[in-house]
């Protein structure tokens, strides 16, 4: 197995995952034999990543902290060919979904995953879900500490946790190690932000009770600064308070955000701190050796510094406009001089956001092997990332991505749309999401125009559960069903940037599916007509308010 620059399973991890596959194989056998009712089987399959969707079973594979090695991505491609229809869908939680799995094949698919130290544990169900992180972790120029060290520590602690496997509702944890939050930590059940205090110590700000869904809320800070070795004790205390006192009478009021909202952040803090006081010195306190051993596995690759400017890159920049735009939108600074972080856009014009065929996954794995230390990241914006690319190699990586259809220079732009699977796949959805994303993406396909419009995040959900994060889109689009007609509600001003996290405000009456593009067009036109120099769409909205946008939209539709 090739060397990786992130956590490698040892025999303990491999054994646990293998035993979990055996257990699930027996559960599937009992279900097929009729020994388990669907009601009894449901939580068992969900905690192994298996959903029953509109047309078939869907398998949601965990990609812990969004980090993949090339051989793992090749295995995902192989699994999607063998057990599915040869493609997969990268999700807003850094997972991969296969939409056409057969129940009887699921144990074999999980066994194939285990061959490359992967699993689908706790990607669904009322338990602690797969932990997400900044997709630039370990490479970002602004990073204080690699958050994936802590994600892995939380992954192990939360896996098959005996006390927290039947929580009131699902529980999502996100961790960032940078002041520029790329992990949306204020809209998770628990968000953890690593920061350095005045004494130079690194610890966590612990944010609890954020979330989207039908009651969007910004999380509250329960602890300004938590010493790192106390993380698991504090998490266990918080989860215990939630498990005991979270509401179970109403599915829609069962998330921790409702508990925090109903009892208040002050009371929540008291409860958690009281619980924590009696466990802080327990076996949960992390020994320095444990932290160091895991941190060592995330040691960054050794990259020799190189000139920050490459003649090849500069020549192509002048020669090819698309390459120049791609450098601006899809290439981010790296902590080592002479390197860059490259985002492969899984949003070519008119395509379903986040989809990749098996051949495309293999192509991405090849590029990672040749130019990015064999490593790939999945972002919550449904793109793939090469974390360690030499600036010198940018032209060849761009050409290779172009052959895969992943070189669209649109990261952060109007066509870099987040969308949930929507009514085409999801049993919960009220409306389609992907076709709406495709229409907007086709309409705004021109790259020069997109770069002129600048940073603009459109997020689309097909129902109130908000898997497409519409509340935090600069433009949010929510599909609703009104007497059997699919309508779309627009909201403006949402944001997940740290310090600016905001829930969008509904613009006005919902519009029909065939008017969504016109409505977005009117929003963009209002911005272009009124923006001041350097202002992004969302800045203009904050300055001038909803009225001018509203007037133009409802005149157009």
């Amino acid at each position: 197995m090739p060397d990786t620059h992130f956590y490698r399973y040892d025999d303990y991890d491999k054994t646990l995952v293998a035993e979990r596959v055996d257990q699930f194989r027996d559960q599937v056998r009992r279900r097929i034999a009729g020994e388990l009712t669907e009601e009894q089987f449901k939580p068992l399959r969900l905690t192994n990543g298996l959903y029953l969707q509109l047309h078939a079973y869907m398998l949601r594979i965990a990609i812990p902290y969004g980090t993949l090695a090339s051989h793992q991505l090749r295995k995902l491609a192989e699994i999607s060919r063998k057990y599915d229809r040869g493609y997969g869908h990268f999700t807003t939680r850094q997972n991969l979904q296969l939409n056409w799995i057969k129940l009887e094949d699921a144990p074999d698919a999980l066994a194939a995953l285990a061959e490359v130290d992967m699993h689908a544990m706790q990607t669904s169900g009322n338990c602690i879900r797969n932990v997400t992180a900044d997709h630039f972790a370990g490479a970002a120029i602004d990073e204080i500490e690699d958050p994936r060290i802590w994600c892995e520590i939380v992954r192990q602690w939360s896996t098959l946790h005996p006390e927290f496997s039947f929580l009131p509702r699902k529980f999502k944890i996100a961790i960032t190690g940078s002041p520029n939050d790329r992990a949306a930590v204020r809209v998770h059940d628990i968000g953890l932000r690593l920061w350095q205090n005045e004494q130079g110590e690194v610890g966590f700000e612990v944010i609890v009770g954020g979330g989207l869904g039908r009651t969007p809320m910004i999380g509250k800070t329960l602890r300004e600064f938590l010493p790192r070795d106390e993380l698991l004790a504090y998490l266990e205390a918080t989860l215990r308070v939630y498990n005991r006192y979270g509401r179970r009478d109403n599915l829609y009021k069962a998330r921790i955000k409702i508990l925090v909202h109903e009892i208040g952040a002050e009371k929540m803090r008291e409860e958690v701190e009281a619980e924590y006081a009696s466990m802080r010195d327990s076996a949960l306190r992390l020994p320095a050796e444990t932290i160091e051993a895991i941190a060592r596995q995330f040691a960054p690759p050794v990259l020799a510094e190189q000139p920050a400017i490459s003649g090849k890159v500069e020549a192509l920049r002048l020669e090819d406009r698309d390459f120049a735009l791609w450098l601006k939108s899809n290439v981010a600074p790296h902590r080592v001089q002479g390197y860059a972080i490259v985002t492969a856009s899984l949003k070519p014009a008119g395509s379903p956001p986040g989809d990749a065929s098996a051949a495309q996954m293999e192509g991405v794995a090849d590029i990672a092997d040749a130019y990015s230390q064999g490593e790939i990241r999945v972002s919550h914006e449904q793109n793939l990332i090469f974390p360690h690319v030499a600036i010198e190699d940018l032209p060849v990586v761009w050409l290779a991505l172009g052959r895969l259809g992943f070189a669209e220079a649109n990261v952060g732009k109007i066509t870099d749309i987040i969308a949930c699977p929507g009514l085409d796949y999801c049993a919960l959805a009220n409306a389609r999401s992907i076709p709406v994303a495709q229409r907007i993406s086709t309409h705004f396909a021109g790259l020069a125009q997109q770069h002129d419009i600048g940073d603009l995040k459109i997020k689309i959900s097909g129902c109130i559960n908000a898997c497409g994060h519409h509340h935090v889109g600069h433009i949010g689009i929510l599909g609703v069903d009104k007497n059997g007609v699919e309508l779309y509600q627009l909201s403006l001003g949402g944001d997940v940037d740290f310090g600016k996290t905001a829930i969008g405000t509904i613009l006005g009456p919902a519009v029909t599916a065939d008017k969504v593009v016109e409505a977005v067009d009117a929003l963009v036109a209002t911005y272009l007509d009124t923006r001041s120099a350097g202002e992004r769409f969302v800045d203009t909205y904050r300055r001038i308010g909803a009225k001018p946008f509203k007037e133009r939209v409802y005149a157009a539709v």
């Binding site: 491999k14 009322n126 039947f166 929580l167």
Partner: protein, 147 residues
């Protein structure tokens, strides 16, 4: 409902509801709803022989926390019985939280209980069954056992 026990003969005391037990706290057996304040038993755990915890539905996991508080924080050593929605696939979790007897009418429960402690040879977190988590075992080795 059939009763299964890991620890030999189960206690034969009839448990009182928490409300009734509060007026007779010398009685050695009590049955708690999963909303009853388990902390109130702390001064009495040395005397109690049977505590029954309830799962109104198998998907309602509050009693797992009650069990861990009784075992871990209050040091209760008597019989800890799970009743209500108790299904065989929950046994590994229940054992780890300190339960040692179970009321269940699910077919195959007894065989599942016999196997439950061997389903997973690795655990990742400390709980109430004395098992040593992987993170601690790793410290006893000179390096990680990469397979």
């Amino acid at each position: 409902m059939p009763l299964f026990s890991e620890a030999g003969l189960p206690a034969s005391f009839v448990p009182l509801s928490f409300a009734d037990w509060q007026s007779r706290p010398e009685w050695p057996a009590v049955s708690l709803a999963n909303t009853d304040p388990v902390e109130d038993l702390a001064p009495h755990v040395g005397r109690l022989r049977l505590i029954v915890l309830n799962f109104p539905k198998f998907s309602d996991g509050r009693a797992y926390s009650q069990a861990r508080l009784l075992r871990g924080r209050m040091g209760y050593r008597g019989e800890l019985r799970a009743t209500g929605g108790v299904l065989q696939d929950q046994i590994p979790f229940m054992l780890r939280c300190g339960f040692d007897s179970f009321e269940s009418d699910q077919k195959g429960f007894e065989e599942a209980l016999a196997k439950a402690r061997t389903l997973f040879s690795v655990v990742y977190q400390p709980a109430e069954d004395g098992r040593v988590p992987a993170s601690r075992l790793r410290l006893d080795h000179t390096g990680p056992a990469v397979g």
